[in-house]
C-alpha cells in the first residue's frame, strides 16, 4: 500500500475512517454474501421439501428396513406374501437394547454380533422373529443352542448343522452361528416357514468342522442333540470353563471332557475336579485311576482323570462300577482322536452378577 493511503479500516464515530475500499475487499465481501445467500437458499429449499419419513403416515414398524448390512442373513427371506421388517444389527456394546437381561447368556458363549429381522405375514397375521448370533466358534454356537433347546427335544445333526423345529421355534447351529427363529404362534403355516428357514440357513451359513466332542461322545451312546458345551461354570465350579458335555439317555449321567494346554495342566485340572466333587459329598474310592466322589444329596458318582492334554470325566453316574466302565470307554475313545482336533476356545470375559 503506497504512502498516503490509510491502512486502518475500523469505524470511528459512525464514520468510515477510510473513504474508499480496495477492489479485493469488495470482491471478498461479495463472495461472502453470495455464500451466505446460498446457505439461506438451501435452508429455505429443505424447509419446503422435508424428508417424507418425518411425516410418514405409515407406522414405524411397517416401514421398509433401513439400509443395514445383512451380514450372513440370506437375501429375500420372506416367504411369498410375507415381508421383511426392521432389520437390525447389534454388537456387544449395544445388544442390551434388544435382549436386556438375557445378553449375558450369549456373551458367556463369546457373543460377537446379532442380526435381527422380523418376517410378517399379510393382514396382521403371524410373525417370525429371527435372531442370528455370531458366537465366534462352533463350540460356542452348539453350546448356546444346547442350552436353549428344550430338554425333552431331539435335534437333528446333519451335514454339520444341528437343527430343531419345536412348537413355535427353530433352533439351528451351524459353524459359528446360532439361529433362533421365533414364531408368534405354533400354527402349521408358521411351522412351514420355520422348516423352510432351517433349509435356507443350513445351505447359506458357512459350516465348520464339528468339535471333537461329537466324535468322542456320540459313539458312546450320547444323542447328537445331547452333546453340549459350557464356556464357563460347568457343574457350578468357577474354574470349570470350556467343558464339553454329553448326556447319556438315562438323563442323569454325563460324560465330560476339557482340553488343557499341556498334560501337566490336564493332571492339575483333573485333581481340581476331583477335589470339587468331593466337597459336595464324600470319597467313594479310587478305581481305574480315578478318585470317585459320591454326591451327598443325590448319591451319584463323579470323577475325572487326565489323558494326555484332555481331562476326561464322568458326572452323576449311578454307581462306581458304572462310572468306571464309562470312564474306560471314554479314555479308549479319546485315544483315537488326533491332538490337532483338540481345539480350545478362549474363555469369555467374566461377568459380574
Amino acid at each position: 500500500m503506497g504512502e498516503g493511503v490509510e491502512e486502518r479500516i475500523f469505524v470511528r464515530s459512525r464514520k468510515h475512517f477510510r473513504r474508499t475500499y480496495s477492489t479485493r475487499e469488495v470482491g471478498i465481501g461479495a463472495l461472502l454474501l453470495v455464500g451466505l445467500g446460498l446457505v439461506a437458499g438451501w435452508v429455505a429449499w429443505r424447509g419446503a421439501h422435508p424428508d417424507p419419513e418425518l411425516s410418514s403416515a405409515v407406522p414405524l414398524e411397517h416401514r421398509a428396513p433401513a439400509s443395514v448390512d445383512r451380514g450372513p442373513l440370506p437375501a429375500d427371506l420372506a416367504p411369498a406374501g410375507w415381508r421383511e421388517q426392521r432389520l437390525a444389527v447389534f454388537d456387544p456394546s449395544n445388544v442390551y437394547e434388544k435382549i436386556d437381561g438375557r445378553e449375558g447368556y450369549y456373551k458367556s458363549f463369546g457373543f460377537q454380533r446379532l442380526h435381527a429381522l422380523t418376517l410378517v405375514a399379510p393382514a396382521g397375521g403371524p410373525t417370525v422373529d429371527l435372531e442370528l448370533y455370531d458366537l465366534g466358534s462352533p463350540q460356542n454356537a452348539l453350546g448356546a443352542a444346547a442350552g436353549e433347546i428344550p430338554a425333552s427335544a431331539s435335534p437333528r445333526l446333519r451335514d454339520g448343522t444341528l437343527s430343531l423345529v419345536n412348537r413355535n421355534t427353530l433352533y439351528l447351529a451351524r459353524g459359528k452361528y446360532y439361529l433362533r427363529a421365533i414364531g408368534s404362534t405354533e400354527a402349521p403355516a408358521v411351522r412351514e416357514v420355520l422348516e423352510a428357514l432351517g433349509e435356507r440357513f443350513s445351505a447359506a451359513l458357512p459350516g465348520a468342522a464339528l468339535p471333537f466332542s461329537y466324535d468322542l461322545f456320540v459313539p458312546l451312546g450320547v444323542a447328537p442333540g445331547k452333546v453340549s458345551y459350557l464356556a464357563e461354570n460347568a457343574f457350578s465350579f468357577g474354574f470349570a470353563s470350556g467343558v464339553h458335555l454329553g448326556q447319556l439317555p438315562d438323563g442323569d449321567t454325563e460324560l465330560f471332557a476339557v482340553v488343557a494346554g499341556t498334560p501337566a495342566e490336564a493332571r492339575a485340572l483333573a485333581a481340581r475336579f476331583n477335589k470339587a466333587f468331593a466337597e459336595y459329598g464324600k470319597p467313594a474310592g479310587a478305581a481305574g485311576g480315578v478318585s470317585w466322589a459320591e454326591d451327598r444329596d443325590l448319591s451319584r458318582i463323579s470323577g475325572a482323570a487326565a489323558a494326555g492334554r484332555m481331562v476326561l470325566g464322568v458326572h452323576s453316574a449311578a454307581d462306581v462300577q458304572t462310572a468306571r466302565a464309562l470312564h474306560e470307554k471314554l479314555a479308549t475313545r479319546a485315544a483315537s482322536i488326533p491332538d490337532s482336533a483338540l481345539v480350545t476356545v478362549p474363555a469369555p470375559p467374566r461377568q459380574e452378577e
Binding site: 414405524l60 435382549i99 438375557r102 427335544a153 412348537r167
Partner: protein, 335 residues
C-alpha cells in the same frame, strides 16, 4: 518499543503493567474455571429433581386382612377379581376420583403367549376393576427395552388397555425427570419415567412370573425397572442391588403377580412356547417381597433353592417380608 524507550520505563510503569497482566490472567483463569463443563450437563437448562410422595402410594396396612390373595382357575377376569377380593377388594385400594397408574411389564416385543410380558387379558381385567372402583383416570405405562410402540402393539397390551378405557403412556425423552431416591445405592438420582405420575394418586404393578438370566426371577419388584431411563443396563453389574433399590424407589398401592403363564426358563426374553407353562394363577398383595417369594416357591417351583439375594437386601431395608408362609395367605378357587 525500542531500547531507548525501554530504558525510560519507570518502576511504577513496570509494576502497573505486570499487575495488569497478572489480573488479566487471574480473571481468565476464574472465567475458565466457572465455564468448565466436562460432561456438558452444566450447560443445559436446570432440571430440578423430583420426589415421589413420602410413603409412596401405599395404603394403610391391615392387621386383619390377608397379606396375600392367591386365585387359581381358568377365567382370567375371575382370577384378577378373586385375588384382589382376597386382600380386601379393589375398594380398599382405589377410591372415587383416584388417578391410577398401572405398570405392566411390556419389556420385549413378544406375543403374549410367549410369557415375556404381562398377559393383556389380566391387564384388561385389572383396568376394568380399577375403573369400577371409581378411578377418575387409569394410565398404563412402561419403558420397554425394545421399541415402545412395537412392544405395546405386539404384546397386545396397547389394545387391551385402550379397549378397557385406560390411557397408554409411551415414553419419549421429554417424559423423564431426575428422581431422588434417598438411601438408594445406585439410583439416588436417576432419570425416571415421570409423565404418567403427574397427578397420580395410586400405583399398581402387574408383572408376569419369569425366569431371569441374571437375577434368576423377574416378578413384581423387578418390574419397576421399566420406569427407569438412562443406560440402565449398567445396573446388571449389581442386579440384586438395583432390585433392592427399586423396592425402595416405589412403594406401590398394590401388586399383582400374573401367573396365568409362567416363563420358567430362557428368561427374561423367552421366545419358545416350550419355555412357558400354564400357571392359571394370579396373586395380589401390598407386599412385593411376599408376592415374589410366593412366586419363587410356588409358581416358578424352585422350592429347594434359596431366594435370590435381592430378597434379603430389600427385606433388610424394611421393604417387605419374603417369609410368605408366616403370613396370612388366602387361597381362592375361581371359575
Amino acid at each position: 518499543m525500542d531500547e531507548a524507550e525501554h530504558a525510560r520505563l519507570s518502576r511504577r510503569q513496570v509494576l502497573r503493567q505486570v499487575s495488569g497482566v497478572a489480573a488479566g490472567a487471574a480473571a481468565a483463569g476464574v472465567l475458565a474455571w466457572r465455564l468448565h463443563d466436562l460432561t456438558g450437563e452444566r450447560g443445559k437448562p436446570p432440571r430440578p429433581e423430583i420426589s415421589l410422595p413420602p410413603g409412596g402410594y401405599a395404603v394403610e396396612r391391615s392387621t386383619v386382612l390377608p397379606a396375600l390373595g392367591v386365585a387359581t382357575g381358568q377365567s382370567v377376569a375371575a382370577l384378577v377379581k378373586g385375588a384382589v377380593d382376597a386382600v380386601g377388594g379393589m375398594g380398599r385400594f382405589v377410591r372415587h376420583g383416584d388417578v391410577v397408574v398401572i405398570k405392566p411389564n411390556v419389556a420385549f416385543e413378544r406375543a403374549a403367549a410367549l410369557g415375556a410380558t404381562t398377559n393383556p387379558e389380566v391387564l384388561r381385567a385389572l383396568v376394568m376393576l380399577v375403573r369400577d372402583a371409581g378411578a377418575r383416570e387409569v394410565r398404563v405405562a412402561d419403558n420397554p427395552i425394545e421399541s415402545p410402540e412395537a412392544c405395546f402393539v405386539r404384546s397386545g397390551v396397547q389394545r387391551a388397555a385402550v379397549e378397557a378405557g385406560a390411557t397408554v403412556y409411551l415414553p419419549s425423552p421429554r417424559d423423564f425427570r431426575t428422581l431422588a431416591v434417598p438411601g438408594a445405592t445406585w439410583i439416588a438420582r436417576w432419570p425416571f419415567f415421570h409423565r404418567p405420575f403427574l397427578g397420580a394418586t395410586k400405583v399398581i404393578g402387574v408383572s408376569p412370573v419369569k425366569d431371569h438370566n441374571l437375577c434368576r426371577a423377574s416378578m413384581t419388584t423387578k418390574n419397576w425397572y421399566g420406569l427407569l431411563g438412562g443406560r440402565r443396563n449398567q445396573f446388571h453389574q449389581d442386579i440384586h442391588g438395583i432390585i433392592a433399590d427399586l423396592a425402595l424407589m416405589m412403594r406401590p398401592t398394590l401388586v399383582l403377580l400374573d401367573a396365568t403363564r409362567v416363563l420358567f426358563r430362557s428368561g427374561p426374553t423367552g421366545g419358545s412356547l416350550s419355555d412357558v407353562r400354564p400357571g392359571n394363577t394370579v396373586v395380589a398383595s401390598t407386599d412385593s417381597l411376599a408376592a415374589d417369594a410366593f412366586g419363587w416357591h410356588e409358581l416358578l417351583e424352585r422350592r429347594g433353592e434359596p431366594l435370590p439375594a435381592y430378597f434379603e437386601k430389600s427385606a433388610a431395608r424394611g421393604l417387605g417380608n419374603p417369609d410368605w408362609k408366616a403370613q396370612h395367605v388366602k387361597r381362592v378357587q375361581v371359575g
